[in-house]
Amino acid sequence: MEIRKGIAVSPGVAIAPAIVLDSEQFRIPRRSIEPQETAAELGRFQAAVEHAQGEVRELRVRVASDVGEKLGAIFDVQDALLADPHLVAEVRELVERERYSAEYAVSQILKAYARKFLALPNRYMADRVADVYDVEKRLLRNLIGARRESLGQLSEPVIVIAHDLTPSQTASLDRSKVLAFATDIGGRTSHTTIVARAMGIPAVVGLKTITAELSGGDNVIVDGNRGLVVINPDEATIGRFREAEGRFRRMEKQLGDLRDLPATTPDGHEVRLWGNIEFPHEVEVCLSRGATGIGLYRTEFLYLDRDADPTEEEHFQAYAEAIDAAKGRPVVIRTCDLGADKFTHLSGEYDERNPFLGCRSIRFSLQHIGLFETQLRAILRASALGPVRIMFPLITNLRELRQAKMLLGDVREDLEEEGVLFDPDAKVGIMVEVPSAAIMARHFARECDFFSIGTNDLTQYALAVDRSNERVASLYTPGHPAVLRLIQSVVEAGLEAGIEVGVCGEMAGEPIYVPVLLGMGVHVFSVSPATLLEIKKVIRTVSMAQAREVCQKVFQFDSDREVDAYLTEIGRRLLPEMIA
């Protein structure tokens, strides 16, 4: 049994045999052969090796004559690997003794070698694993060839293990049989994540080498709540996870009953519970989990992983799709938030010493006005289709807000002149996620229609902590009294000016912080689709009177530890089944 830790991106627990997809969509079945087939199977293996060697030698000659002898010699390594007597003997043994099919034996043996390479302490040596993977692929391609199995015809429930899921791979999956995903790469915005959330199945991404660490048919547990993958678990572990799985299902079922109920406190105070999305098709997931609007539509995906900037039409199509799906509910579109940890072919060109304090987000947009205007045009055009709001991220001073609004005004005039339809009253707001904007909130409130507090960046900037840095991550908490005071001053400024104040950072989706945010008077909670129902449950449990009391009490503490301990305690008392 082995346990791997990755990033939990879609909640739930699943236990099933794995199928491993590589980038070429091979699915290696754990197929056994009959005794009388052994000779034929060994013959297939032999033929595959010989054919693979032929390919490698041909490549060697071509590369050597095209780019030089030195690069050509790289293929000698693969040639030698294919002829390795141990490799050949081990594969033959699995076929003869275990009655494995040739492709399953090849996959088992080469993955075992890959694991050994990955375990080497010397980086340069460990990188040789690439040759091992290449040889595996080459052999499998020769073995499977036209016999490649269709992913659309799974007979049993499976867990899909992949480097990353491409859209075409996902499209070919029989979704009724897939219980979970686990992938080598990816983060919150990867395709795998999006698909898993949309399918409502558990997923763990960023596991680095999971595809090398198991073979098709291995039993696997995916724990999408804690970001764990257990390879070949023992009985006791399976029992523990089955129990957790059951508990999660019951909780989901119980929460599902809340879907159509309003996000209202027991004493009748109603708030708006909206969803955060990256991709248009997530709107549907949000609505199916009871969201009454989209409070944060991140638009960076339009810019990422491509060589050219998105066209106005591409922007428009994406926005139109989201607005259509929202069926008349508000959609807050955030203009592009590139830079820092999200790069395009453009922004990635600069090497910044301190990217989180660099040319990111609205700063990047204001320095690339053409790009920015294209996006603004598309958003405005989309505003003719349904209630759209425009939100500018990372505003630090009034000048930026005024500049952005001026550009928006220019684009409006152009559209008017061209006779293109748009909503002239579309609301314009800012993300408050920098301490300077929070402190100056009163002034900002006069010049925009709404605030949305981005607690992740606000916390990082107020506390000067990068939470992805393990050595200081423990200093990061939105429960720090300084962060709470900043948030409170923003809410107060908004209330005073009569504009709506929302929270779209992760804090709004953490149950223990909901009472204090309610107590401050936050109007909109915009959270990830996965946490919508949980947060509704909290809102429907805490009375406004209790929330105000919690809020008052919290401001008496002078340390983040006391705040977090107190809020956890309150949470446990109110929702013992949810907050451990």
């Binding site: 390594v77 030698a80 390795d84 490799l87």
Partner: protein, 87 residues
């Protein structure tokens, strides 16, 4: 059984291409080659095992050869190791 000890002197140690040269040379002779490095053992005909030895610069390999051409084989292998990465 003839045995030879050789030091790894090239910059990257027995990485992919040196491993290819080693096993290709070993296979030219009719004898069985075993390479030891500390407690690790590799079959001198297996590139996988040779690379997995992770023989870095400064380490010493103990090469054993068994068979009719053992001595000639060890001479050739010692020469190959000394010339790693010199092309």
């Amino acid at each position: 059984m003839p045995v030879r000890e050789v030091s790894i002197v090239n910059r990257q140690g027995v990485h992919a291409r040196p491993a290819v040269q080693f096993v290709t040379t070993a296979k030219k002779f009719s004898c069985r080659v075993t390479v030891r490095m500390g407690t690790k053992v590799a079959d001198g005909a297996s590139i996988m095992e040779m690379m997995l030895l992770e023989a870095l610069p400064g380490t010493v390999l103990r090469i054993e050869a068994e068979g009719p051409e053992a001595d000639a084989c060890l001479d050739a292998l010692a020469h190959v190791v000394a010339e790693f990465d010199k092309d």
